[in-house]
C-alpha cells in the first residue's frame, strides 16, 4: 500500500451561501425538508493521494471511506489515502463496485476484470477462469446473509458464503429477457436484478421463484402509460431500502413500494437529468447520481445540486405545492457527472468523473426552517 497525506482543498468556510428565498412565494412558511441539505463540499483528487481523477464508486463504512477509481482502490483512514492496486493483488485497476459484508467486515470489490474480497488486509481474487464468476466484467455486488451476489456482463453469480460454491443465473434459467446483469440489490426477502434491456427481475429468496417487471410501453422518452412499471427496460442501477425499490435508467427513475410504481422524468419532475447511473438510498430518500448533477428526493420534496458558471454551485429546492427555490452555494461537487454516492449520518461521499467529493450535511433542519426561526427572507428566483 502507498500512503499519502490528505490536504482538503475545499473551503472551510460555511458554504450554503444564502440567497435563496427563505420563504415560499405564497408568504406561508416553507415546509421542512424530509432530508438534510448539503452545507458545503470538499474535494479530493490526486494531490490528496487519490490514484486517479476518475472515481467510479465510493463506500463509507465504520470510519473508512473506500474509493473505487480507474487506477485502483483507495481507502481513506483519518487523513491518509492508502491505495490497493494490481500490485497488491487486485484483479484489475478499474474498480466498478463495492459492498461490505456486515457480518464479517469483508469488503467485496468488483472490477472490470474480476471480483475481489479484501479480508483482514488480504486480497482474494475471483475470475471466470478461477471460480464460478459468470463473467469478468463486474457491474454490481450485493452481500446477503448467506451469499454474495454479483451482476456481470453475462448474468448473475451467487457465491454461497458457507460452501464457497457458485451458481449462475441468466436468461436460460430465469425470467431475464437478456443475459446482461447491470445491478443487484437485496431486501430481507428478495433479490432484485437490474437487467440491461430486460427491466428488473425479482427472486423470492426463500422459494427461489422469479418474477419479471418490464416497461410496458417499451418507449424511450415517452412514458405512454405513466406509473405502469419500470421507467425503461434498460436498468442502469437498482437500490432497495426501507421497503422501496428505486430503479435507475438512462430514461429517468422509477420508485416501487411493492404495490405501485411511480416514474420520474427530467421534463415532468425536478429530476435534473434522465441519465441516471446510480442511486443511494437512506431511509425513504434517494440520492440520485446523474450526468448533470445530484438530485435528492423522497418522491415529493426535491433538492438538486449542480456546479455554476464562474465557480460555486446551486441548489434548487422543490417542495410540494410551492415554486422551486434556487440558492447559490459557495462550493460545489468536484464534477456534475456523479457516478456513485454513500451516505452516513453527517456526510455524503460522491464519486464523480473528476474527483471525490465529500458533502457535509446540515443538521436535520434546512435553511428555510432556520430562516423562519430568525425571520430573514431572500428573493425568489
Amino acid at each position: 500500500m502507498t500512503k499519502k497525506p490528505v490536504t482538503v482543498l475545499a473551503c472551510a468556510a460555511a458554504a450554503l451561501v444564502l440567497a435563496g428565498p427563505l420563504k415560499a412565494r405564497s408568504g406561508r412558511p416553507a415546509a421542512e425538508l424530509p432530508f438534510p441539505l448539503i452545507e458545503r463540499f470538499e474535494h479530493f483528487g490526486p494531490e490528496q493521494g487519490l490514484p486517479a481523477w476518475k472515481v467510479h464508486c465510493v463506500l463509507a463504512d465504520k470510519g473508512k471511506v473506500w474509493v473505487g477509481t480507474t487506477k485502483g482502490l483507495a481507502v481513506l483512514e483519518g487523513k491518509t489515502f492508502n491505495v490497493i492496486g494490481p500490485g497488491q493483488g487486485l484483479s484489475h485497476s478499474v474498480v466498478t463496485a463495492l459492498a461490505v459484508d456486515p457480518a464479517t467486515g469483508d469488503l467485496w470489490v468488483g472490477t472490470l476484470r474480476g471480483l475481489n474480497r479484501i479480508s483482514a488486509g488480504k486480497v482474494e481474487t475471483f475470475t471466470q477462469t478461477s471460480s464460478g464468476l459468470p463473467n469478468n466484467v463486474v457491474y454490481s455486488v450485493a452481500v446477503g446473509k448467506d451469499a454474495v451476489w454479483v451482476a456481470t456482463a453475462a448474468g448473475v453469480g451467487r457465491r454461497d458464503a458457507r460452501t464457497g460454491s457458485w451458481s449462475l443465473f441468466d436468461s436460460t434459467n430465469t425470467l431475464m429477457h437478456e443475459p446482461w446483469a447491470y445491478a443487484v440489490t437485496l431486501s430481507p426477502e428478495k433479490l432484485y436484478v437490474g437487467v440491461w434491456a430486460g427491466g428488473i427481475v425479482e427472486q423470492d429468496l426463500a422459494r427461489g421463484t422469479w418474477k419479471e417487471y418490464r416497461d410496458p410501453d417499451g418507449e424511450m422518452e415517452l412514458d405512454l402509460a405513466p406509473d405502469d412499471g419500470p421507467i425503461s427496460d434498460i436498468t442502469s442501477w437498482a437500490t432497495w431500502e426501507d421497503g422501496i425499490l428505486w430503479q435507475a435508467s438512462y430514461s429517468g427513475v422509477a420508485r416501487y413500494d411493492g404495490t405501485r410504481w411511480k416514474s420520474y422524468l427530467e421534463k415532468k419532475s425536478p429530476l435534473v437529468s434522465n441519465f441516471v447511473n446510480f442511486i443511494a438510498a437512506k431511509g425513504r430518500v434517494a440520492w440520485i447520481c446523474t450526468d448533470r448533477g445530484l438530485t435528492v428526493t423522497d418522491g415529493t420534496s426535491w433538492a438538486t445540486y449542480k456546479g455554476a458558471e464562474g465557480g460555486g454551485g446551486t441548489v434548487e429546492i422543490t417542495r410540494p405545492g410551492t415554486p422551486p427555490e434556487r440558492r447559490r452555494t459557495a462550493t460545489a461537487m468536484s464534477n456534475d457527472f456523479v457516478l456513485g454516492a454513500s451516505i452516513t449520518e453527517n456526510e455524503v461521499w460522491l464519486a464523480t468523473s473528476h474527483g471525490l467529493t465529500r458533502g457535509i450535511l446540515a443538521r436535520r433542519i434546512d435553511q428555510a426552517t432556520a430562516a423562519r426561526k430568525t425571520g430573514t427572507q431572500g428573493a425568489s428566483r
Binding site: Q128, W180, F275
Partner: protein, 357 residues
C-alpha cells in the same frame, strides 16, 4: 486439424494483430473498435476505420489511432474486450459492431465510463438504451425495411431471419416497419434459419405461405445460399434483403439468383466525399469498399472529429456534434435519440450490378 487452426490464427492476425494506424510520437487519441471474430464484415469494418484514421492524421491537431479487440479463445468474452478497449487501451470513444448483442456490451461500458459510441448496429434496441452520447451511424432495420416494403410492389411477405437473439430483434423491427409502411404490407411468417433450408422443406414452406415476396434478412453468404435455394425450389416472386447484401460476397454466393433482388442503399450526395473515400480505400487495401466499410469509415470519422475537438471528456459533452459532417455515406445527421437521419433508395440486381429499380 492443423489447417483450421492456422486459418483461425491467420484471420485473427488480420483482424487484431496488424498494427493500427499509430502516431509516430506523442500521445494519441484512441478510438476503440470491438470486432467479434464471427462478424462477417469484420475485415471491411476494420479497413474502413483505418482509412478514417489515416485521413484524420493528415489534418491538423493531435494524432489518432485505432485499437481493435474481439474475444479470443474459448474463455474470451466480448464484454471484457469492450471494457479493456477503454481501460487498458485508453480509447476515448468506441465503435460498436453490427451485432446487436456485441453493440449492447459496448453500450454497457459506455454507460459506466461515459465514452461516446458510434454504433454500426441497425437494431432499434440500440438507440432505445437512451445513452445521450451514442449515435447509430448505420441506417436502422426499420428504415431499411420500410424502404423495401414501399419500394417493392408486394403485399404478402415471407421473412427469413437469423436464429436466436439477432433473429428475434430483426423480426420485431421488421414487423414494426411493415405496420408503418405505406400501403398494405403483411409479414405472413417469419422463419429463423442459417440459410441452409433447401429442397422439399423450402418448397413446402413457400407453398403454405404463398408469399408475393421473400425478405432475406441474413448476412451476405447465407443470404446468397438461400436466394439460390429459393429459385431452385421454384419461387418466382420478388426477393429483397438488407443493405449489407449490396456486397460482392452476396453477389458471388447468389450468382444468377441475385437477379432482380431489391436492396436499399444510401442516396448518393455527389459531393466527392464518397469518391475520395473509395480512392483512399483502394490505395490502402487494393479493393473497392463495400457498404460496411463506408459506414465504419463514417463512424470513425465522427469520433475522431469529436476527440480532436474536445479530448476524451469534452467528446462526451459535445457528442453527437450539432453540425452535420459529410461522410462517405452522405450527410451524418441524427435525431435526438441518436438515430441516423438518412434517405434510402431501392436498387435491384441486374447482371450482377445494382441499378435503379
Amino acid at each position: 486439424m492443423i489447417r483450421p487452426v492456422l486459418s483461425v490464427l491467420a484471420a485473427a492476425a488480420l483482424l487484431f494483430g496488424a498494427p493500427a494506424a499509430c502516431a509516430a510520437d506523442g500521445p494519441s487519441l484512441v478510438v476503440g473498435l470491438l470486432l467479434p471474430p464471427d462478424e462477417p464484415e469484420a475485415v471491411s469494418i476494420r479497413q474502413g476505420t483505418l482509412a478514417a484514421a489515416e485521413e484524420a492524421n493528415e489534418g491538423p491537431g493531435p494524432r489518432v489511432k485505432v485499437a481493435v479487440r474481439g474475444r479470443m479463445g474459448a474463455w474470451g468474452s466480448d464484454a471484457s474486450e469492450a471494457a479493456l478497449l477503454v481501460m487498458d487501451d485508453g480509447a476515448g470513444a468506441l465503435i460498436a459492431p453490427p451485432s446487436g448483442a456485441a453493440s449492447h456490451l459496448v453500450l454497457q461500458v459506455s454507460g459506466r465510463t461515459g465514452v461516446p459510441v458510434a454504433s454500426l448496429c441497425p437494431d432499434a434496441s440500440v438507440t432505445r438504451a437512451s445513452i445521450p452520447w451514442m449515435v447509430r451511424v448505420a441506417p436502422s432495420t426499420l428504415d431499411e425495411a420500410r424502404a423495401l416494403f414501399e419500394g417493392a410492389a408486394a403485399s404478402r411477405w415471407l421473412v427469413f431471419v437469423p436464429a436466436g437473439r439477432a433473429g428475434r430483434e430483426a423480426s420485431r423491427d421488421l414487423s414494426a416497419a411493415a405496420a408503418a409502411a405505406a400501403g398494405k404490407r403483411s409479414i405472413e411468417r417469419s422463419v429463423e434459419t442459417d440459410g441452409s433450408v433447401t429442397g422439399a422443406a423450402l418448397r413446402d414452406l413457400v407453398f403454405s405461405v404463398h408469399p408475393d415476396a421473400v425478405l432475406i434478412w441474413l448476412d451476405p453468404v447465407p443470404a446468397g445460399r438461400l436466394a439460390r435455394s429459393l429459385r431452385m425450389a421454384g419461387f418466382a416472386g420478388s426477393l429483397a434483403g438488407p443493405m449489407r447484401l449490396a456486397s460482392p460476397a452476396f453477389a458471388a454466393e447468389a450468382g444468377s439468383s441475385a437477379e432482380g433482388l431489391f436492396v436499399p442503399v444510401v442516396a448518393p450526395e455527389g459531393d466527392g466525399v464518397r469518391a475520395a473515400f473509395e480512392s483512399r480505400y483502394r490505395r490502402l487495401f487494393g479493393a473497392a469498399p463495400g457498404p460496411a466499410a463506408a459506414i465504419a469509415n463514417d463512424a470513425a470519422k465522427l469520433l475522431f472529429d469529436a476527440l480532436k475537438r474536445g479530448g476524451a471528456e469534452g467528446a462526451r459533452r459535445g457528442f453527437p456534434p450539432a453540425e452535420r459532417i459529410r461522410g462517405a455515406t452522405g450527410l451524418l445527421a441524427f435525431d435526438r435519440n441518436g438515430n441516423r437521419l438518412v434517405t434510402l433508395q431501392v436498387r435491384r440486381y441486374r447482371d450482377g450490378h445494382l441499378v435503379r429499380g
